[in-house]
Symmetry: C2
Subunit: 371 residues, 2 copies
Amino acid sequence: MHAHTPRVLERHLFGPGPSNPYPEATAALALPLLGHLDPAFLEIMDATCDDLRQVWGTRNTRTLPLSATGSAGMEAAFVNTVRPGDVAVIAVNGLFGRRMCDVAARCGAEVVPVEHEWGTPVDAQRVADAHPSPTVIGAVHAETSTGVRSDIAALGAIKGDALLIVDAVTSIGGIEVCADDWGVDVGYAGTQKCLGVAPGLAPFTINDRAFERRVENPQSWYLDLGLLGGYVGEASGSGRRTYHHTAPVAMVASLHAGLRRILDEGLENVWNRHAETGLVLQEGLLKMGLELFAEEGHRLPELTTVRVPDGVDSAAVRRYLLERHNLEIGAGAGEFAATVWRIGLMGHNARPDAALLVLAALEDALRANRG
Amino acid sequence: MHAHTPRVLERHLFGPGPSNPYPEATAALALPLLGHLDPAFLEIMDATCDDLRQVWGTRNTRTLPLSATGSAGMEAAFVNTVRPGDVAVIAVNGLFGRRMCDVAARCGAEVVPVEHEWGTPVDAQRVADAHPSPTVIGAVHAETSTGVRSDIAALGAIKGDALLIVDAVTSIGGIEVCADDWGVDVGYAGTQKCLGVAPGLAPFTINDRAFERRVENPQSWYLDLGLLGGYVGEASGSGRRTYHHTAPVAMVASLHAGLRRILDEGLENVWNRHAETGLVLQEGLLKMGLELFAEEGHRLPELTTVRVPDGVDSAAVRRYLLERHNLEIGAGAGEFAATVWRIGLMGHNARPDAALLVLAALEDALRANRG
């Protein structure tokens, strides 16, 4: 039992996600709940899918928020397209490419990983050379583990007959995504990064080409796109909806509010805001004498990776920032856990004032922790 | 673009779920977001798991909220326990038992369904007689499709060496659940019914017996309990947490607030409130001359099924209730879609005033729609 109400913490969420949501998205979470089959909710769901098409840069009918986090979006992508024995060529330049290999293998794929040095972008030619006739090619647009942007259009150009599966978890709503123009067949994302919404949904899109080749009765009932389509996507506006599972109505309402905020501001303006903020941060870090981890020319504005200076305890700095300034930044991923920090200025946090704050706070933390 | 802010709808959610959340649960959704690795959030997560153990009636270490809706809980139960060729005996007395068969089949199980007439409870002896040595036995505690309660302890008594998998989506937090005493090995639930929280999480519990027999590298990466345990469950309080996926932090905070509300009121008091409310509703319906669908003696207090009177258009009544009274009740499930209504008074809605309201509104709707 709580004898008293605990103090409400307000954190600056400047790690690799979740980010602080847009206030409109938070407000929508607390609105009175609607039933998942209420016509008023179905309108919100359909509008959400429309808005998602805009941030994905697609006209795919089957564009929808899956009822789980971004990682489930990855699973949905492979479960619905890969049969045992299929060849999955996966570009690996960080943790999330590596995870794709694991998920594809659980679908029975023969996985062909194309390993890249972490911190560098995907080399489309190496991916093309990896196998003559893959069933699917997988790649991460914005590697959350390294802060690197890869050229998805270049992969679309070499994909041949393969389906191109793209992880846009950390790119959507922050930098340009043009799923249709780039040749993306299946894309998945998360809500808690540049879309500025709490975690809990996976914005997903699949084109006709991929849907026609889909796995019937895939191993996942929950993520079976053939069943989901009866409730959302192709059922939109048809008046005939089939119950599949209970949609997370509060989260969908919140995503809708976040997307409205983004589209009201204008998608290009939002991208520019992310670009400008990232530049302020990255130039500031260089000016402080710090070294950026991601290769120049391929750095994400929304997620910056920076090397921990020699002799500095990475965890102590992060703890100091959290305790003194209520400011969260991320550790590095995988083998770079102790040697890299990840600083995200995403969605609502993609603002020059947030960049100034994190620079000042990091300077303070380094001063206090250099021993 | 919206030229204006749309009017906020307030619905009485008296269908089979979601129900109107406890106000504490709604308020928690809108609190400032925490990172999923923030020590302050991990405290909330651990406290949530503790509270879940109480509503499950279990001491299982591995009791946690899965990051998806209740249906994903069903998938997690089978994916982690069933290998191709395993025998799954499933008691089917409604839609959700039937769904268990589908999900188990996708895991490669040899499914032995034990069909019961809808509206009747599970007959443990028939389940015992269905197969001499099943790997798992599956059953639904509270069938959301029919409003029937089954005796889970009776299944625990006959399970033998099999693992007992129980769907407690519509029972947890509304009627007594004693997972350990009843011999439940794996249980899953939802948040949007008697727990009085928005949909989006699947409270889940698995005991050591089931965990030791679990499938290594199951077909689902997202629902792999072996991986999830590094972040929540056995990792609790250890100080060592492994990132698996980004937890839906706002939903977890909301679940925590809902559970606190329930446990502050007292679990038995909450069950009594559901029982009393269900009685007021069911006696009122009978007094109106309506016929209840679920077999007497096995009726759930939190979810009442009632036959649509002859000559009454079921959909027209539901539409009238929604449009005139902002009150949602559910259609029947499966073949009873047009001939049964489902009225849920769950969680925050398990109150005598809600029962009186739905009775009065239904009387009004029948008067207006008898033609």
